[in-house]
């Protein structure tokens, strides 16, 4: 077995027993990157030299007997996370030259625990998209089929994990941006409960929905990496002052007596995907879980509600890009207003401008009540649906995405078709719930299918318990694309 094929926990054991060094492991991954990156294009920036220096330091700490879950582990970071003194572009021209003066809290935590950062991964501009085609720096390709999208917006992180260019990665999820690419690339991805992980230093898209989470090769790695980043942060007032548990203790491998909810309303789903999910449900039932049909009557209104709430928040958050304090500037000769207009119009890409327009419209005088306020009321009804459903079951299982990975360019000219990729993931963000995507088989084209497991607030352990049991029993563990 090559070193780049290891999971985080396998590497953890070898590093802790000093059978391999972090420098060897990091070198193996950098070699792997130089071999496959040309095809996949998962990274926006590589940090080879810095990574090797961090690996050396990790080896020194390991030699002195120190142990942390991520000490010496080579990881990748979505380029939406601020990294001190290392470029952070958010996939946008407007931040093309931006070098943050500080680390995001999650980056700082991993750094302190001795993780090695290989580089920053590609994404849809400002995390707006479901295919990574909206990156200002070109698309990432799906390692399972290079003519297809890796999903988005955390497509770079998902592809890097699937192509085994890193042992794990962080992504961010506003409407499915961790789970949908995880599904498309056949890896594991989790969006934690809103407030579980600090958003400090995460470039804001829609602040009431954004959450950072792990993207890994398997469920154990997900538990490990979540534990390394979760917990209260005084610098994010929405982070919850509840200590993070040891998530690996949730990996019991049994689901006996657990109530697994499933939805009736699953229209427009690809046949193979439905079949994959149904087989997963049967397997869980055969392992002793009890299947319960649940209904979320307002789920079909989640997408329109989200596409008012998220753009409204984004239009406010992105008002800061005005060419004054940081970022791209042009049009100075025309005066201050022209400088704002020019910097923003040339700095932002098409999808970002579309959403700023949509959000500005939804918040503007005369339309606020009909659109934004209405969407926020529907959000309340959806949250109540979930609360009722979780009285009947412990987790809700559904497809992560209605289809497997589509072809590059297939949905680029049709925003609504693109938005529908997040049909199953969006309700979860509106309700602030934790959810995970794990692989549940391949479709007839050999493309991975994702299974979404949703839990009640702060029930990440329940989700991990189900995911781990399913993963152990299903036999999909360790399937990787050939590159």
């Amino acid at each position: 077995m090559e070193l780049w094929e290891l999971t985080i926990w396998q590497a953890r054991e070898l590093l802790d027993q000093r059978e391999i060094s972090s420098v060897e492991l990091t070198r193996a991954l950098l070699d792997r990157i130089s071999l496959v990156e040309e095809k996949v294009r998962a990274f926006l920036a590589l940090a080879g030299q810095q990574a090797l220096a961090q690996a050396q330091e990790a080896d020194r700490r390991l030699d002195s007997g120190e142990r942390t879950p991520v000490l010496g582990i080579p990881l990748a970071l979505k380029d939406v996370l601020c990294t001190a003194d290392f470029p952070t572009t958010c996939g946008s021209r407007i931040l093309g030259d931006f070098i943050p003066p500080y680390d995001a809290t999650v980056v700082g935590r991993l750094r302190q625990q001795g993780a090695v950062f290989l580089g920053k991964t590609n994404m849809d501009e400002f995390a707006m998209g479901s295919s990574t085609e909206h990156s200002a720096f070109g698309p990432t390709r799906n390692p399972w089929d290079l003519e297809r999208i890796p999903g988005g917006s955390s497509g770079g992180s998902a592809a890097a994990v699937a192509a085994q260019e890193c042992l794990g990665a962080l992504g961010s999820d506003t409407g499915g941006s961790i789970r949908q690419p995880a599904a498309c690339c056949g890896i594991v991805g989790m969006k934690p409960t809103y407030g579980r992980v600090s958003r400090y230093g995460l470039v804001a898209f829609a602040s009431s929905l954004d959450q950072i989470g792990p993207m890994t090769k398997d469920v154990r790695d997900c538990a490990l990496l979540l534990g390394a980043i979760a917990g209260h942060d005084p610098r994010d007032s929405t982070s919850v002052p509840v200590p993070a548990p040891d998530y690996t203790s949730a990996l019991k491998g049994q689901v006996k007596g657990l109530r697994v909810g499933y939805l009736q309303e699953e229209q427009g789903v690809q046949g193979d995907v439905l079949k994959g999910v149904q087989e997963a449900l049967s397997l869980l039932e055969s392992m002793g879980a009890r299947l319960v049909q649940v209904s979320l009557p307002h789920m079909c209104y989640a997408l329109p509600s989200y596409y008012l709430v998220a753009p409204a928040e984004a239009s406010s958050n992105l008002a800061r890009y005005d060419g004054v304090k940081y970022g791209f500037r042009c049009g100075e000769e025309g005066g201050l207003l022209e400088m704002y207009r020019c910097s923003r119009s040339k700095g932002f890409g098409q999808e970002v401008k579309r959403r700023i327009m949509l959000g500005t419209y939804a918040l503007s005088a005369g339309y606020y009540e009909a659109y934004y306020l209405k969407a926020c009321q529907v959000r309340t009804l959806l949250i109540e649906d979930f609360r009722r459903a979780f009285e009947l079951c412990d987790v809700i299982v559904s497809p992560t995405a209605p289809t497997t990975a589509f072809r590059l360019g297939e949905k680029l000219q049709d925003p609504i078709q693109m938005y529908l990729s997040d049909y199953f993931t969006i309700p979860v963000n509106l309700a602030g719930l934790p959810a995970m995507s794990i692989p549940c088989g391949l479709d007839s084209n050999g493309l991975p299918i994702g299974l979404q497991i949703v839990g009640a607030h702060f029930q990440e352990e329940r989700i991990l318990q189900v995911a781990y049991s399913y993963e152990q029993a299903s036999g999909y563990l360790g399937r990787r694309p050939q590159l």
Binding site: I99, P101, Y102, T193, Y194, S208, P234, S237, T238, V240, C300, Y301, L303, P304, S305, Y307, L308, S315, G323, V324, K325, Y326, G327, R329, E332, E333, G334, G335, L336, L337, Y340, R341, C342, R344, S345, F348, R354, I356, M357, L358, T360, Y361, S364, Y367, A370, Y371, L373, K374, C376, Q377, V378, R379, T380, L381, I383, P415, I416, A431, G432, L433
Partner: protein, 95 residues
């Protein structure tokens, strides 16, 4: 509730974005089709429903009023497109 080309121009002005003719035409069509999709929200009865702006219950978070070190000015200014000392420079606003 259709969105007109004039609405699009007005919203662009509010958002400090400028578009050429072709873009304005395209955006008018796209925003209409997206907003048309939102119309289904009208089917939902929301009378008396409290709006949610945040999924989790949030309370004011207070901290001790302590003076803590700030980021060094040079680091903060390093990303400015144009600056002079510790000031950001913008085109002249008052003649």
């Amino acid at each position: 509730m259709g969105i007109t080309r004039q609405d699009v121009e007005h919203v662009a002005e509010l958002a400090r974005l400028s578009f050429n003719e072709e873009e304005l035409e395209r955006l008018t069509g796209e925003l209409n089709s997206i907003l048309g999709h939102m119309e289904q929200l009208r089917q939902v009865s929301t009378q008396g429903v409290r709006p949610t702006t945040h999924a989790m219950e949030l309370f004011n978070v207070f901290r001790e009023d302590l003076v803590l070190p700030s980021m060094e000015p040079e680091k903060v200014m390093a990303n400015a497109p144009k600056c002079s000392g510790e000031s950001f420079q913008v085109p002249r606003v008052i003649e």
